[in-house]
Structures are given as C-alpha cells and as structure tokens.
Symmetry: C2
Subunit: 192 residues, 2 copies
DNA sequence: CAGCAGCCCTAGCGTTGCTAGGATCACAAG
DNA sequence: CTTGTGATCCTAGCAACGCTAGGGCTGCTG
C-alpha cells in the first residue's frame, strides 16, 4: 500500500515535471523547439518515458494548454476583483489581450495547436469553464436583453481575433489600444 | 527570344500547376497531407523542381494564400454588389464566415499558417488590399466618427475570431448565426 | 557535327514523432 | 542470504518529413 502510493506519487510528480518542462521550453523558444528528444533530455529521461505518461506530443501540449487556461482564469479573476462591476469589462479585455501578447506560446497551445481538447461541452476541463465564466460575469452588466453567454462568446471571439491577428502581424501593433477601445465602446451598454 | 519566352511561359505554367495542386490537395485532405513528395508526385515532377520555383514549402503555402485572398475578395465584392449600401455589412459578414467555413484549408493558409507574408504594409500583395477594402466599404456607413479603417480592423478581427473558434470547435456551431447577428447589431450604426 | 549550357532526376542528409525489445533494478518469498 | 518475479526504463531503429548535392541527359548554338 505504501509502496504503491509512493510510486503513484512519483509518477504524478514526473508527469507534472514533463508538462512544466514543455511549457518552459515552448515559452523560451517556441513550440517548434519542443521536440520529444529535447523534452526528454530536459527532464533527464529517455523519450519512451514521455509516452508512458501521454499518448503523444499533442497530449502533452493539451496538458500545457489546460495549465494555460488556469493561469488565464486567475489573471481575469484578479482583474475583475480590482475593478468595479461595469468597468470590469475593460479590465478583463485588457488583461486578456495582454495575456496573449505576453505568453504567446501558451496562448498558441490553448487556441491554435491542441485540437483534441473538449471545449464547449460539459466534459471540458474545469479551468476552461472557470476562465469562460470570468468573462461572462464581466459581460453580464452589458448584455441587455441578450443572453449573457451568447454575448460573451461573441465578445471573446472578438478579443481572440484581435489577439491572434495582432500577434501574427496581420494588424499593425501600434493601433492595438485604439481597436480595443473601439470594441469596448461597441460592447458596453446594450443598444436597447 | 522566342525560345526564351517559351521557356518562361512554361515555367509560369508549371508554377501555377504547383500552386493549384497544393491548393487542391490541401482542400481535399488538409495541409498535413501536403508533403513535398506527394505534391511532386501530383504535378508529375521530382521534388527538387518545387525548390526551383519556391524557396520552400512555406513559400508554396504563401502563394496558395494569395490565391485565397483573391477568391475571398471576389466573394466579398459579389456580396456587396448584391446588397444595398447600409445592409451590405451583414452580407459581407455572412460571406466572410461562410468562406472560412467552406474553404477551411484555404483560410488556414491565409491566416494560421503562412507567417512570412507582408500584411499590414504597403508592399503586401494586391489581393490582400482589395479584399480588405471590400470590408472597409461595407463598414464605412457604420463608422460614425471613428476612422473607417480602424473600425474595419476591429470588425474584421471579430469575424476572424468567430470563424476560427467555431471551426476549431471552441464555440458551439449551432449558435453561430446568433453570434453573427449579435456582432452585427453592435457594429451597425455608430453609438454617437 | 562538336561543344556547351541548362534542366531535371536519383540519392542521400539530418531531423521528426513514435515503438519494439531487451537489460536492469527493486521488491517478495523461501 | 539467495533466488525468482515483475515492473521500469533505455538503446536502437522505423517510416516520413523538408531540403540539397551532384551527375546524366536533352537540346540549343556555333
């Protein structure tokens, strides 16, 4: 019993080690630099060990993505706690886009790369729900007659578009603040 | 002179052939299936021929992306010609998202994959400018006091977010029309 | 007809994600 | 303390990837 639990604990620790190493490597040098060989070297094990924990590289990235959603959720909660109710939307929006800007590799894992995560369903990992709910609460005062969840989805999509297009140099970076302010003007207070 | 021009013509034709083959293969089986070997086999040449036309696989995808922008620009122009001025924004938005939905591989090349295309600068390929200008013209009646280009960038980013998140199953597909309608309500007629 | 220049293919390099198989270690039983 | 057993982890290798070097063939030129 004791031996069994120690082994399970060690396994869990090593799994955490792998995910952390993958995250750090990706944030330092981008996901292209995260090869199974380099990752194995980083955690000081051989490659096959990775596959005894995860089905493949995608699964490792998905685990990193879940950690990213937890981080994002915390940042959004902090922003919402810092700013009073109706103006919280601006703080949340600013926090969201600056998160995407400051942690590009993490944001990529969450939204561009890992495709096999369940998302808009009930069995999505819990950090995804909490992060989404943070935006819902910030949006709620501005939803008007519309369903808050629907407004949140739309507003979130707009933030995501701004973040990704700016990051990919599709949009000039210098006008980012102006675009964000414009978006907020269109989404604060319901038209009716 | 005649021989020279014939060779140049043949080169141009073959280049077009490569781009078309890459596009068709990507649209049929996704970009993962577009390997240099399969592409070479498709055009009935050996691999190195690809590299005498393009610097690498990325450059081929960039060429496909430019074709995609031309297609998108045509579709948007048609939508704007079909619908009168103020309501054209809805038609443009619907055309945009359905383009992303119907041609996912093409849309990926345009916005997710090829990073080395100049975008928001003057030396961007001409189809990019015309496509963007189509949205500008649809947005203009609703810009109010704001700069139309800035509103366009923001609105376009929102459309892009809706398209990519819906496609990646981050947003439930069934509510897409509702989200699009909500976005349009927020962007038609300026608040002041 | 001889020489030359350009085109294009065969072959191969280094790297990728992933896996099979055997060696090695820690534990339990006699 | 020795022996058997079971899990653990590493070495080695596979197929496929993007890309490139080098030589043979074709066809134009003088």
């Amino acid at each position: 019993m004791s031996i069994q639990s120690r082994r399970e604990r060690e396994r869990a620790e090593r799994e955490k080690l792998i995910v952390t190493a993958a995250r750090e490597l990706a944030e330092a040098e981008g996901w292209d630099a995260v090869t199974t060989r380099r990752l194995a070297e980083q955690v000081e094990y051989s490659q096959p060990v990775l596959y005894s924990h995860f089905a493949g590289k995608d699964a490792i990235m998905a685990a990193v993505a879940v950690e990213g959603f937890a981080d994002l959720g915390e940042a959004l909660a902090a922003a919402r706690a810092r700013v009073a109710a109706p103006e919280a939307l601006a703080a949340v929006a600013e926090t969201y886009t600056s998160f995407a800007e400051r942690r590009p590799a993490l944001y990529d894992a969450m939204f561009s790369q890992a495709v096999d995560l369940p998302f808009a369903t009930a069995d999505a990992p819990e950090p995804l729900h909490t992060a989404f709910n943070e935006i819902v609460e910030a949006v709620r005062p501005h939803a008007g007659a519309a369903h808050p969840a629907l407004v949140t989805e739309t507003f979130w999509a707009a933030l995501h578009g701004l973040a990704t297009l700016t990051r990919g140099r599709r949009l000039p970076r210098h006008a980012h603040d102006d675009r964000l302010a414009l978006l907020l003007a269109r989404f604060t207070r319901a038209p009716d």
